[in-house]
Symmetry: C2
Subunit: 385 residues, 2 copies
Amino acid sequence: MRSVAIIGVGSTPFGKLEGRSLVDIAVAACREALADAGIHREKIQALYIGNFIGERLVGQGALAGVVANRLGMSGIPATKTEGACASGGIALRLGVLGIALGLYDLVLVAGAEKMTSASTAEVTAGLATAGDEEAEMRSGLTFPGAFAIITREHMARHGTTREQVGLVSVKNHGLGAANPKAQFRKPVRLDDVLTSRLIADPLRLFDCPPISDGAAAAVLCPADWARDLHRQPVRVLGTGHATGPATLWEMDDITTFPASVRAAQEAYAMAGITPSDIDAAEVHDCFTTAEIVATEDLGFFARGKGGHAVAEGWSAPDGKVAVNPSGGLIAKGHPVGATGCAQVYELVRQLRGEAANQVRNCEFALAHNLGGTGVVSTVTILGRL
Amino acid sequence: MRSVAIIGVGSTPFGKLEGRSLVDIAVAACREALADAGIHREKIQALYIGNFIGERLVGQGALAGVVANRLGMSGIPATKTEGACASGGIALRLGVLGIALGLYDLVLVAGAEKMTSASTAEVTAGLATAGDEEAEMRSGLTFPGAFAIITREHMARHGTTREQVGLVSVKNHGLGAANPKAQFRKPVRLDDVLTSRLIADPLRLFDCPPISDGAAAAVLCPADWARDLHRQPVRVLGTGHATGPATLWEMDDITTFPASVRAAQEAYAMAGITPSDIDAAEVHDCFTTAEIVATEDLGFFARGKGGHAVAEGWSAPDGKVAVNPSGGLIAKGHPVGATGCAQVYELVRQLRGEAANQVRNCEFALAHNLGGTGVVSTVTILGRL
């Protein structure tokens, strides 16, 4: 396999992007990534785009072809991937493999979602399609509900406290405050989290990500071309993609997602590094608890110690590993299909030394994207070239 | 690149599959393909599945992970592709490339759609998401409407007659009558077509495919393994994937789809054969006119002569090239995401000599899948191994 580099990234701001369609924001992120890479659109040989529920929320399917056409790239093979909240991570992985395996030399990867134009009820029902409808979600379970159950189990099994869970929100909102692309730009105190509106006991409003619009994109090429094309290329060191149980009731232990563990193992093995080498990680904190679970599944902290770790500051920017320096899904926002690519946008900027909450001496970075309650996960490891 | 073979295919019947969910039918087609290949599910290294609007019509997203889990393959990387009606063809292409480029040795590819549980209005609105919502479909255009405009233009520009267009329906319903998997099993006369209910002038009910449930699947491996695994493996000789304009108003000539032309050129070049070598073709007859356009875009007949060709019997099973021997989308049915894989199901059986409407001495076969009004297309060329 050829070594792959990222030579350009782009992202819209995340939030309520009034008057801008799903296609508009995908195109904007792609143009920013192409400009950052200094690559003309006509040089791009393939497009992969992650999107979850454009057909349902905004009436737009076939997004890859529509975006290719709007970008003036009509002709090239364009592929939309969907794996719920991991849609963007899957698109990125296909782009990386396309270059690694020698199929293409210049690939554009993007993720996008437009959610704020739909009602909260429509969004909640749409997000619930990430579960196994027939085998679990038909019961009326929602994703806040599922992660509330997981939170209770993490507390019961590992002694995690409600306060530790809330500290994820405090950390991430604090980081989001400094990120100009973030949806929420205001720090919150632990007391704010613990007294915010109850959503699904014990999860409260500030344990949850907002409903967001947003898109992010990256331009990929073979690593041995990268130095000639960009002053600060980033190398893709490893990639992993795995599936897991689609329902909670099939899992032996609902405080760990086998798909994350397997995808991470694959990515670490390919990169030839270990969790302790990672300086910055964007992990899938679709709820506060999900960050705690992710930091354990990715091997940053011992099983059951994710709550303790955040309380000790181990996941702060100056801790053992900076977790979600962008503010994560909780503060930066979670336009579902965009998230996997937005994580890479942040980490490329970290590795270049350009991030809003810059992690010192950032050499190795990891992006972790999760779909549903662990039905699919991708992990990507990046390093300086 | 390694040469790729298909060693197993499966398909549910197409039609109204009462009481069977989207996941159920995808799993059934996959199991049939695995059984045909004689491969245990644990040997499969990756799953690609095409589906268009499961999130919208039946509340089921993240289909690849959910199906992998239900099949007992939880763990493997599973990817859902969506490119409207070409979703299945894109999944197939990714599976072929995964083996061709040496990433995997045994891959399962599937396509599935469950449509009959939704209302006709929901289906029509859902299908319309295959167009560019903002730039064209917001006008109220539907797909029958778009293909009616294309039909009128084909008649005006090329002298195609309403009768010639109707003869596609007569041919395909006649072939579907013999296909046990087809939704419509009754021949129709030209007069039946021309007096059937007007849908979008000049297209009538029998010019349109039905609303269908169905799934199809295939097992792929390197060609040099195939002889040891199946008595009659089929070789994938070529694959093409291209995009085109997303709206009618951007096209210089709406009687040809540049995406089909480009995907076909790519596939023919890879296979090292020409259109006249093709013995059987499953083409994307989402409307009668679409078959006429496809037979021209694929190079079977001269530009503008597709209507003449069907009237002359050149696309009949004993003609120059047997077009849609399965009955095509019009008679076999069109569960959107399944179609690209169902075409390959039919062609593998043609190449093995097992088809319901067997084409004599079938050596080379072509599958053509189209999304929207040509926003994306895939072409796959198969031959005997």
